[in-house]
Symmetry: C2
Subunit: 288 residues, 2 copies
């Protein structure tokens, strides 16, 4: 049995952090939720929306006395933040994060935190193209997967505490090696983001590219939606998982070459076979 | 001033054909709308939903006496259908289509129709991943672009008639050379479809590909949504616009190679520049 969380500090009250605060408060997963962020307007919105009990722009103050500290910030910001707050947090506080790349983040957090046993990497696979506290949703994690990435150093009690928190949100938790997590995410998230950026950039590079985009329909907009995300955030994620992402990108590039070859040779049979195989990988249209 | 359409025959009562029927009836764009399709169940749904006044599975009967015949079927089916119905249609009937590839379709329709002057290619850029009569919507064309692709052979009166029909649906019509249309669509629709298929297939080819897809989030599903479409339909569209689509695919492949190079060399600056440029091509997140 895991002791309830008295004080939960959430650094970064955006879509993920804000939703976690909202769910933690509404389901009693923590006695108090403290939000922290650099933007006062976003924190005020978080307070208005009831995502947090109180909020501060001072991270050293926000984490003081917290039992659990959640870093809900871009991957590249996790390690610097952990180093900054380490000596202000309670010695038995558990540190966790929600970054979509885990091996480098967890390694850096373990190095920065006083007790590496009290670091637990987590990645809730939930999102939206919306951002900020106003995008927070009480149902964001319902039925979503949340991957926990303990290492040999992780204390079982710390893992159990973070696992209980995420289960409490309605997420389906599972444990996975951080490197394995990053390999999987390269295929289903990091490379697809890069592909979406590449598609937008390819059109832009075409003659009269910007004029072309006026003719884009909903299909193009769906396909490139994830390329609307922050370039610096995705720069950092892609670099943090560069090898696995490159492998996955090269695989997409190879399939594109196959498609081009089928088009160049008018090979209808190969083309249909490839499209049919691809189609069979995906959910059906009546699924989300 | 264009004379109103007495009888409008729509061959293929799916998302586009069904929506056109619904709008034509509700806005009085035609005196009678006759639907035609091979599947009785879909036609019955079209009748129930009020998309058409009457329906038939016999295309030669459906087009008899029509002032305008709309082929709302896959691109590859247009020419065979036109040949089949040519001698049953009224001699002054105007033939139009809604295919997403225009030069080969319009050329074939002009060859098949008794009077090539009465052939007007059209492409309403509206859609959804939903299909069939039940997906029809009265607002599908509101504010959507509809590209008309007259040729040197097109009679001005026929063009005016189809232009008036699409304007009546709420679409924003414009005229364009068929080859120019196909070049543009290669960039914003045909190649993006191929890229989405390639992305799905690349993941599928990975070791444990199907297991990987269990970890796909909403981003991956958005990016590959258009690859859920019919493989045979897209095989035909891609082949019908093979040269322009290949050019656009090669451009995406080149950007992917640039991204891989930046990742391999850890070139954060180039990576950010590329992602930022791509991002700038796209609508903002608060736009559709």
């Amino acid at each position: 049995v895991t002791a309830p969380i008295g004080r939960l500090a959430i650094v970064g009250v955006g879509l993920i952090g804000g939703s976690l605060g909202l769910v933690a408060r509404s389901r009693g997963l923590a006695g108090e939720v403290v939000g922290c962020g650099r933007g006062r307007a976003n924190l005020d919105a978080a307070l208005d929306l009831g995502l947090v009990d109180r909020a501060s722009t001072d991270v050293t103050e926000a984490v003081r006395g917290a039992d659990v500290v959640v870093l809900a910030v871009p991957a590249a910001s996790c390690a610097p933040l952990a180093a900054e707050i380490a000596r202000y947090a309670s010695p038995d506080a558990v540190l966790t994060d929600v970054a979509s790349v885990k091996l480098p983040v967890v390694t850096a957090l373990e190095a920065a935190w006083p007790d590496p046993g009290r670091v637990v990497g987590a990645h809730p696979i939930a999102g939206s193209h919306r951002t900020g506290a106003r995008a927070a949703s009480a149902t964001l994690f319902d039925g979503a997967r949340c991957i926990l990435t303990p290492t040999a150093a992780t204390a079982p009690a710390a893992l159990a505490r973070i696992e209980a928190l995420w289960r409490g949100t309605g997420a389906l938790t599972e444990r996975m090696d951080p490197a394995r997590h990053d390999d999987i995410l390269a295929w289903v998230s990091h490379a697809p983001h890069a592909v979406a950026y590449a598609l937008a950039e390819a059109v832009g590079r075409a003659e009269a590219g910007d004029a072309l985009l006026a003719y884009a329909g909903s299909g193009f907009l769906d396909t490139t939606r994830i390329a609307r995300g922050s370039p610096t955030l995705w720069r950092d994620v892609l670099l943090a998982n560069a090898t696995a992402t490159s492998t996955a990108l090269a695989a997409s590039r190879a399939v594109l070459a196959d498609l081009e070859h089928a088009l160049a040779t008018g090979d209808a049979e190969s083309l249909e076979r490839l499209l049919t195989a691809a189609r069979a990988r995906l959910p059906r249209n009546d699924e989300p």
